[in-house]
Every structure is written in structure tokens, then in C-alpha cells.
């Protein structure tokens, strides 16, 4: 049975090869035959490499070059002069940019903490095979599939003090009048409004990665723990958490890098306001680049952020490898 299947597979493969050879025009076949396997491999990946160089690598080096100049994108004909480290000096001595860094750190810390705790909790619950768990998984994943522009706009309506459902729900639960629940207009509440939206949208993503981690733990480890009379609490801390840790760390890395660049949600919800309470680094960068048109200075700012994220990712990947080796 097995050998007849193999014969059939071999025959099908031979026929497919012959058909491909017949279909290939003779001049092309001759040309391809002239290349080594290595050359053909390079030929196939060359377009991707060219695209990567054009879209990622070239702009990076161009931004590094611009960060040392006085270039302004709204004055393309003005003389471009090399001004050394002046742009970096200004960025690193500006109290407003320093404040925007702290705002970014606040967002990154709270969103990652909430997303990891809630995401892992949801994954743990979904992993218990209960009736309808596939339906609930799909339902929980919906926010992640929406466009950030859509999410930003509809949460702006939800946060409206007069007509918003969020204000009504909070008012119903706490008794505070809806007109006092100014989620986007209050200096104290606006940063938390963005944290809530980002957590609502991206917790399913963390849940999905944690769920993959939990599903990869073999059942026999739990069975062995049961035989040793380990309590569920002990099983959770000694088996579940250590074995799902590389996945949790991966989710934190992905969300951390994304949240350092958080722009769309903040821009749609508050635009950096009220005042500059929600002005994260990417909003400050956009203002510098496209409102003040200080292209050279904003390039220096972008490089500072890039180095910060790159350095953090390096540490994180090292930690991840160490956890995996355990």
C-alpha cells in the first residue's frame, strides 16, 4: 500500500517536472541552465533585498545624514549645511522633549503591564476547554482585527461626556454626573483614556501569543505533577508560568516596540492634548518634523528613539534566549 503510494507520488512528480520542462520556452530554459543553484537563489531574493534596501536601509542612513544638517523639508532650495552635533545637543537638552519621553514611558509601562496580565489571564481561561471556547476566542480577537483609525474614532464617541456610552456606564456605576466624566478633556484622565483604548485593542494579541505558549505545554508534565500530588497553585507557578515565559516575553517585546512608536491612537483621540499631557515622543516628533519643519532636528530625534528601541530589543532577545535555554 505504502509503496504503491510512493510510486504514484513519484510518477506524479515526474509528470509535473516533464510538463514544466515542456512549458518552459527553450531560450529561457537554456539561460536558466547556465546558472548555478546559488545564482538562481540570489536571483530570486534580489528583488526583496532591493526593496528592503530602498524602503528600510536607505531611509535610515539618509535620516542619520540629515540629523547632522540644518535641512528643512519646506525649503528644498535652501543651502544644506553640516552643523555637527547641534541637533542632538538641542534634542538632549530640551525639557519639552524630555517630558514627552516620560509620557511615552508612562504609556509603555502601563499598557504592557495591563495587556500582559489581562492577556495571560484570558489565555489561561480560554485554554480550559469549555463549551463554546472557540466562539469566545473569536469574539475576544475582534478588537485586534479593527483598524486603529476606526478604533480611535469610535472610542472618541464612546468617551463623549454627553452622548458616550463609557460616560453613561461610569455614571451608572459610580453616580458621578456624565458631564464630569471628561475622559479626553481632563489632564488627569486623558493619559488613562489612551491606556484603556490601547489595552482594549491589543490585549487579544498578547492573549493569542500566550495561548500558543500554554497549548505547547505537554499534558504529561501536568499528569506527572498530579501523581506527585502538586497543588494547582504549585502547578501554575512551577509548570505553567516557566514554560509559557518565553512566549510572554515575546509578546512583551512586540508590544513594547510597538508602543514606543504609538502615534495613531494618540493622534486620533487627543492629538497630544490637553496641553501636552498626552504628547508622546512620536507626536512631538511629528510636530517637529511637519509643523516646525525642522527636518534635521527631527531626524536626530528619530535616531535617538531608534537607538533606544534597538538597545532594548538587544537586551530582550538575549534574555529570551537565556530563558529558552533553561
Amino acid at each position: 500500500m505504502n509503496s504503491s503510494h510512493q510510486t504514484f507520488a513519484e510518477k506524479a512528480s515526474r509528470l509535473a517536472t516533464e510538463a514544466a520542462v515542456r512549458a518552459t520556452p527553450e531560450p529561457l530554459a537554456k539561460r536558466v541552465r547556465g546558472f548555478s543553484d546559488r545564482a538562481i537563489a540570489w536571483l530570486f531574493i534580489a528583488p526583496t533585498i532591493a526593496l528592503l534596501l530602498a524602503i528600510n536601509i536607505f531611509p535610515l542612513f539618509w535620516a542619520i545624514y540629515l540629523s547632522f544638517t540644518n535641512y528643512r523639508a519646506n525649503r528644498p532650495n535652501a543651502e544644506v549645511r553640516n552643523i555637527g552635533l547641534s541637533n542632538y545637543s538641542r534634542i538632549l537638552n530640551d525639557p519639552d522633549i524630555w517630558a514627552s519621553m516620560q509620557t511615552t514611558a508612562h504609556f509603555v509601562f502601563w499598557t504592557i503591564l495591563l495587556q500582559t496580565v489581562i492577556g495571560f489571564g484570558l489565555a489561561y481561561l480560554i485554554d480550559r476547554k469549555f463549551r463554546g471556547h472557540a466562539f469566545w476566542t473569536t469574539l475576544i480577537l475582534i478588537p485586534m482585527m479593527l483598524s486603529p483609525a476606526v478604533v480611535g474614532n469610535f472610542w472618541r464617541f464612546l468617551y463623549e461626556p454627553q452622548i458616550g456610552l463609557f460616560a453613561y456606564a461610569v455614571s451608572f456605576l459610580t453616580g458621578i454626573p456624565t458631564s464630569d466624566i471628561q475622559m479626553l478633556g481632563s489632564v488627569q484622565l486623558a493619559p488613562w483614556a489612551i491606556v484603556i483604548v490601547d489595552t482594549w485593542m491589543w490585549t487579544p494579541y498578547v492573549m493569542l501569543i500566550c495561548l500558543a505558549g500554554l497549548r505547547s505545554i505537554p499534558d504529561y508534565i501536568y499528569e506527572a505533577a498530579e501523581v506527585d500530588r502538586a497543588s494547582p497553585w504549585r502547578q501554575f507557578w512551577s509548570i505553567t508560568v516557566p514554560m509559557a515565559l518565553p512566549f510572554i516575553m515575546l509578546a512583551v517585546l512586540f508590544r513594547g516596540i510597538e508602543n514606543f512608536k504609538m502615534f495613531d491612537m494618540v493622534n486620533l483621540l487627543t492629538g497630544g492634548g490637553p496641553g501636552s499631557t498626552t504628547e508622546v515622543a512620536s507626536i512631538a516628533l511629528k510636530r517637529d518634523a511637519f509643523e516646525a519643519w525642522a527636518t534635521g532636528r527631527s531626524s536626530a530625534f528619530a535616531i535617538v528613539l531608534f537607538v533606544a528601541v534597538f538597545g532594548l530589543a538587544n537586551i530582550y532577545v538575549k534574555a529570551l534566549n537565556r530563558v529558552k535555554q533553561r
Partner: protein, 68 residues
Amino acid sequence: MSDRTLIIPKKRRPFFLRRGPMEALAVLLIALGFLMLFQPFWLVLYTYSFVTLLAGTAMFTVVSKFPE
């Protein structure tokens, strides 16, 4: 005639060419730079954060290529 084999001790690489300690140093620099960049207390720490981060990142990129 004895069949003892002569074990020549392996020459240790100098400290600054060893991967383990240098990688740890680079990670320390990156972590320090990162904290300096986002701390809300002293502007002077923020000013020198980028140099620290850059030094750590460049060092990590180089020393992570050293043999174990």
C-alpha cells in the same frame, strides 16, 4: 614508558575579548542609558543618556560576535 598525556592549559583570552563579561557590561550600559532617557528626575542624566545607550548598543553588537 608512561602513557600519560600532556594536557596543555588553554590560553585564556584577555578580559576585554571575552564574550560573557563584555556582553554583560554592554547590557548594563544599555539598561543604564534606557533608565537615564526615561527618568523624570535630572535633566543632566537625560542629556547623557543617548551617549550611554549608543555606547552600550554598539558594544553589544560587536562583542556578541566574539566566540564563547
